[in-house]
């Protein structure tokens, strides 16, 4: 049942799982994710693979794999330039069940008119977090003949959403009746060139409005440590919640393939060797991931980890448990699991 009263007033606390939470003082959104971050907890986020289907139950079933292990779920936006259900739709389905999704917006497919419209729509549907991305090249995907848009870049995108939220207006200056209340995020890849300038670039992303950061896969601790040291020197860890990406590698073969075919993925040889030599490579991949998570948690200024486990989603809970990064904390989960939800046919 739609509670009209709650719909009219986004500050009112509703009774349905999808109703907004009270907006705490100093918070920009109503979201649970922002509450976890601002409370100083070590956050865990993950990525949901949007289905190639019009079935909403498939989204809920996939999300249920993460129940009790993650604080927020990124809904990818045509990642790798492949077509899937849209991020906005996945987020809308997830908010209805009470989850905290992160809307991913890539500049590849939409111009500023479309993006601003979707931002309002997402906020109206209860989405409280947005991640601003440039987006992969269309040539990498299943529609290489498509026209890439790239009207904005990730920095001007964050700026656009901040303008809408904080100034209550479109880029054109036209006033909004109700501004979208969203926590703004951006990405960083400290592991590829220009490595020496990546912290400076992070500073730009934060200056443009990013309040949380999610990084590319980290398999290289020395590089990360250096990057974080620079970020601390620039005072950036005080200004944004920096969440580091980790990956679950199923096999050394996949790792090698990813390294040479997925843009921006850096995996050192010793990780690949370790998995190659392991008796149980799959298990070893999860152990490596959990160990990296533990090491990341030890670094000053890191606010959490982002577990990317494409086609390994069922193992996200396992690596989170193994790593122990959550301590005694159990992230929110719906009262009843959606794992056994009947598919729509």
């Amino acid at each position: 049942m739609i509670d009209i009263d709650t719909m009219r007033n986004p500050d009112k606390v509703g009774t349905n799982p999808g109703d907004p939470l009270p907006r705490l003082e100093g918070h920009v959104s109503h979201g649970r994710f922002e509450q976890v971050l601002r409370a100083g907890h070590f956050a865990v986020t993950t990525e949901i693979a949007p289905p190639d289907s019009a079935d909403p139950t498939e989204v809920l079933r996939r999300a249920s794999l993460f129940d009790g292990y993650v604080d927020a779920i990124n809904a990818t936006d045509g990642s790798g330039a492949h077509c899937h259900m849209s991020s906005l739709a996945v987020c809308a389905i997830l908010t209805r069940a009470g989850y905290s999704p992160i809307l991913q917006v890539s500049c590849r497919d939409r111009n500023r008119i479309s993006i601003q419209g979707d931002t309002l729509g997402a906020a109206a549907l209860g989405v409280c977090n947005v991640l601003c991305l440039s987006g992969d090249d269309v040539g990498a995907g299943d529609h290489p003949e498509a026209k890439p848009v790239f009207d904005l870049d990730s920095v001007s995108l964050a700026q656009t959403i901040r303008t809408m939220r904080d100034d209550g207006q479109f880029l054109s200056g036209r006033k909004l009746d109700l501004a979208p209340r969203m926590l703004i995020g951006s990405s960083i890849n400290p592991f590829v060139p220009p490595i020496a300038n990546r912290a400076d670039q992070l500073a730009k992303k934060i200056a443009s409005g990013a309040e949380f950061i999610q990084s590319q896969y980290c398999f290289d601790m020395p590089v990360l440590k250096e990057f974080m040291a620079k970020a601390r020197d620039l005072g950036l860890t005080e200004k944004a919640y920096i969440i580091i990406g980790v990956g679950v590698l199923p096999s050394a073969k996949t790792a090698k393939w990813m390294r040479s075919n997925v843009p921006g993925v850096h995996i050192p040889d010793e990780i690949i060797r370790r998995q190659e030599q392991a008796e149980k490579p799959k298990l070893e991949g999860r152990k490596i991931c959990a160990e990296i998570m533990q090491q990341i948690k030890e670094i000053d200024g890191v606010a959490g980890v982002h577990v990317m486990a494409y086609r390994q989603e069922k193992w996200v809970g396992d690596v989170v448990k193994r790593s122990g990064v959550l301590g005694d904390r159990k992230p929110w989960a719906p009262e009843h699991s959606f794992a056994d939800l009947q598919a729509v046919t």
Binding site: S134, D137, F150, S156, N189, P193, P194, K204, S208, P263
Partner: protein, 156 residues
């Protein structure tokens, strides 16, 4: 050829910065005069001249909002994603572009070029979304007419 010249210009970004800073006011000054006398009559040849000169040296794409002096003399419009605050996260380990493996990433080049420039710190300023209506216009003429500020840092 032009690609090689582009890389040369970035390698010598310090020199090209000085050249640019010295020549730019003269060009803008001359254009102000021309503008007074001829109005818009000479726009086409002037635009073609800018496109030719900057095209040869920097692979300039005539976005009409020239940012060269703050991007290490590396034209951001050569980035296949036309990123104005780069680079993206897909840069290859060898510094080549994710989309065009035979081209050095425009933004790796930009940060490198900026590190040698006197005003190189300007690369750390945020560049706003480009106005697509200005595509193909002469930045010089726009400055001469006061449509945009001469110094990038004063724009917007």
């Amino acid at each position: 050829m032009s690609y090689r010249l582009r890389l040369f210009a970035i390698r010598h970004s310090r020199f090209f910065e000085s050249l640019y800073n010295a020549v730019n006011p003269a060009i803008v000054g001359t254009l102000k005069g021309i503008n007074k006398v001829f109005g818009t009559k000479l726009d086409r040849p002037i635009t073609a001249m800018e496109a030719g000169l900057k095209g040869v040296l920097f692979d300039c794409q005539m976005c009409g909002n020239c940012a060269l002096s703050k991007t290490g003399m590396s034209c951001p419009m050569n980035c296949p994603k036309t990123i104005r605050n780069g680079p993206c996260g897909g840069v290859r380990a060898n510094g080549m572009c994710e989309v065009k493996p035979d081209m050095k990433c425009v933004w790796v080049q930009a940060w490198d070029g900026a590190s040698r420039m006197k005003g190189g710190e300007a690369i750390k300023d945020i560049e706003f979304a480009v106005d697509n209506r200005d595509q193909g216009k002469s930045t010089w003429l726009r400055i001469a007419r006061g449509e945009i500020a001469e110094k990038i840092s004063d724009r917007h």
